[in-house]
Symmetry: C2
Subunit: 279 residues, 2 copies
Amino acid sequence: VNDSPEITESTPTRNWKLVLAYDGTDFRGWQVQPHQPTVQGEFANAIERITGEHILPQGSGRTDAGVHALGQVASFAIEAPIPEANLHRALNRTLPGSIRILSAEIVPPEFHARHSAVRKTYEYRIYRAEICPPTLARYVYALNWPLDLEAISEAASHVIGEHDFTSFAATDPDATTRDRPEAEPDYIRAIYESTWRKEGDLLLYRVTGSGFLHHMVRNLVGTFLEAGRGAISAASIPAILAARSRSAAGPTAPAHGLFLAHVEYPPGTSGTPRHRMLP
Amino acid sequence: VNDSPEITESTPTRNWKLVLAYDGTDFRGWQVQPHQPTVQGEFANAIERITGEHILPQGSGRTDAGVHALGQVASFAIEAPIPEANLHRALNRTLPGSIRILSAEIVPPEFHARHSAVRKTYEYRIYRAEICPPTLARYVYALNWPLDLEAISEAASHVIGEHDFTSFAATDPDATTRDRPEAEPDYIRAIYESTWRKEGDLLLYRVTGSGFLHHMVRNLVGTFLEAGRGAISAASIPAILAARSRSAAGPTAPAHGLFLAHVEYPPGTSGTPRHRMLP
C-alpha cells in the first residue's frame, strides 16, 4: 500500500540564489511598488511568466531609485523543476536588457539573500574630465571641480572599523535600518575597506562593510567630497561620526553614481557565479 | 557724414560650427518634430535660452530615432557676440547630459554642416559575449550567435569604391536621398573604408564614405551579418549591389548599435575640435 498511486506528494520547492546586474536609471528602485517600474517587480513578473509561480524574490537589500547593481543577489523558492543551467537564460530572454541575470544556482533551503549576507561592497563613480560622454552620463556623477585626492582618501580611511553611523544615515526613521543584518545593533556597522582610486577620467570610491544604513554610501561620498574641495578637514570625520547627527555630515551624493558591486556569504553557502560584470 | 551716428548698422551674424555627441535612445532622432523629443529641438531650445535667438541648427545629416553620435556636426548663424571659448560651456550647462557639445568655433559664412561635408564615418557596435552588461545595452546590438569573422570582413570589403547603393537604401522614397551631398547623383556613393574589427567582447564595423542613403549603414550591417551566419555567401555582395533592389539585400540592423562617429570637411574649413569622444 506504500506505493499506492492515490498518495499524492506535494511538489518539493527548491531554493534559488541568483546574481543580477541592472541599470537603475529607469526603475523606482529595487523594491516592488504598485504601478511603478521596479527591479523586484520586473524580476517577479519574469519568474511568473516562465514558471507560472507568483513569488517575490528577496534581495540582499533594497537599492534606491537610480542606483545600479553589478552583483545584486536575490533568493526565492519555486516548485518548477527547471534544470540549474537553464533558469538564467530563460530569465534573460524574458527580462528587459536593463536587468541581466549573471548566474542562477540551487542552494540549501536556509539560504536567504538578505539574512545570510555577511559583507557588501558598493562602488561610487565620479567623472572628472570637462565633458562627460553621453554614454556614461547615466552611470557616473560628473564633477569637474578641483578635488584634493589626498584629502578624500584620508577622509575615507577614518570610517574603517566599527562605528556608529547615525551621522551618515538617512533621517527617514522607517527606512534607516532596513538593511540591518539580524545580528547587528542599529546604526553600528563594520567597514572593512574604504578607498578612492583614479582610473583614467574616473574617480572611484569602493567601500566594503558588514551592512549599510539607508543612504549611507551616498552620505559618506557627499561628505568625503566636502573634504576633497576643502570645505571641511579630512581629520574632522571622527568628530562627525561622534556627533551622531545627520546634520554634522555632508550632503547626499546623487544616486546615479552608485553601484552595488557584490554581496558576500559565508564560505560554502553557494558556488561562484558563472558570469561577472566587469566593474 | 559717413560717420554720422544716425546710420544704424544691422548686427552682424556669425556662423558657428559645433561638434556634438549624443545618446540617441530617448530622442525621436535628430530632426525636430512637434511635441517629440529630438536632438535638433533640444539644441535649438538651448541656443534660444542662451541667446534669445530662435534659429534651427543644421546638422551634417539626420540620424534616426535611437542612433547615437560621437561627432555629429551642426552649423548656424547667430547675432549674439558670445566669445568663441564660451559657447560650448554655456550650452553644456543648459542641455541634458544625453547631449554634449564637444567644441564650438566661428567659421566663414559659407560653411554649412551638410553642404560642406565631404566624408562621414559611422561605427556599428555588436556585443558578442553571452550576457550584455545593462550599462552597455543601450549602445550595442547584443548578438550571441556564431559568426564567421572572415566572411563578414570579406562581405564588407566588396562595398569599397563607387557603387549604386539602391539595394541598401530605405524604400521610403522621400527619405532615401535626404543625406545626398549636392554634387552626387542619387543612390551612387563612394565608400573609402569598410572594415570589421574585434575589440574585447565588441565586434565593430567602421565605414567611411562620401555620404550615406537612408538606413544604408544599418542595411549594410544587416546584410554582412547574413554572410557572417552563413545565410548568404560573402561573394554575393557584388550581385546584391547590381540587383539595385532593396529585396536583394538583408534586414535592417537595429538603430541602437549605430554611432555617427565623425564628419570631415575640406582642409582649412575649420579647426580641430578641442574635445573628442573616445570611440
